[in-house]
Amino acid sequence: MTSNARPTVYQTASHSLDIEGIEARFGVRIASLLGEQAARTDANIAERLRFARERALERAREVRREVAAAPATTVVGRGPAAVLARRTGWWVKFASAMPLAMLVFGLVVIDRLHDHAQIAAAAEVDAALLSDDLPPSAYTDPGFAEYLQQSGEE
């Protein structure tokens, strides 16, 4: 093989590994020096980081306390759509269904009262017509209607 021959697949792969190895060594070396520099962080910043850490830890304790305070609560789903479901007894279920039942009952009562009022109004009109001296058919007679109109104008 001559020196300017194209590299074989093996040589290419080997060369690629060499490059990756060199890059990795370089990266690790730079990172360790960066770490050394980071360790010399300003005291004020270190103090603020400590404060931030303590706040986070306090928040974690609060979350744990909240979870511990609600042992009957189980997570049904996770993520943004998490739903909390509570294990409940019959009485609680009955009590929670009561407002809905009362609402339905109220609607039914209102509907019945409305029907009753309409029937009563229609019966009153019927009674007035039937008990009048004029027969109901007189109101459909065109001559009688004209008579009523003229009487009204006079």
Partner: protein
């Protein structure tokens, strides 16, 4: 579930690196501190029930998201997108030219020859400066891989990109750093 001590130890171990990484990105120490604090609290609130082994990856994700949120709030998204799309490498000298310097730079940093010419403090500051000058995505990939010691898959997960992209960003970051450090006389 991570115990109080595990969470505390984890946060203690990661806080300075998290601050530096964020400060590189936002170039504002106060904002970086706020972002790190928010990230710590978010981790504590939402993932306190997770095992301690999962905390590093979760925290890095939260930190990256919080940093992005900060950029959105600052309404400099265009600048970020510009940086994020800046994937062009400085390959005009050819791979082999840079590769030849990698080993020498790596062995020269902190070694006798570098220490003779430049003080160690200056070297560390110079490295920090050059890392800060890297394009955002290259810097993120480099720091997550080599500083946070994450593997390629974890880095890809945190950055929300493919493993191939992570390798590319890391490689370009290493080459850019090697070239910049050599230009500053750190290569023997």
């Amino acid at each position: 579930m991570a115990t109080d001590k595990e969470l505390s130890d984890f946060l203690k171990s990661v806080e300075k690196r998290a601050f530096k990484r964020t400060a590189f990105a936002v170039r504002d120490d106060d904002a970086a501190l706020d972002i790190v604090q928010d990230s710590m609290i978010r981790l504590a609130e939402r993932y306190v029930d997770r095992p301690a082994a999962e905390l590093p990856l979760l925290f890095q994700r939260i930190l990256s998201n919080a940093t992005m949120d900060w950029f959105r709030r600052q309404k400099v998204r265009n600048a970020v997108v510009h940086n994020f799309s800046d994937f062009e490498g400085n390959d005009e000298d050819g791979d082999f030219d840079i590769l030849e310097t990698l080993d020498s730079v790596a062995s020269g940093l902190g070694g006798e020859s570098a220490a003779d010419s430049v003080s160690r403090d200056q070297i560390l500051q110079l490295i920090e400066h050059e890392v800060g000058e890297l394009p955002t995505r290259q810097r993120e990939a480099f720091l997550l891989r080599y500083w946070e010691e994450m593997d390629v898959a974890e880095t890809a997960s945190v950055m929300g990109c493919s493993e191939g992209s992570v390798k590319t960003h890391c490689s370009r970051a290493v080459h850019a750093l090697a070239k910049a450090l050599k230009a500053k006389g750190l290569a023997p």
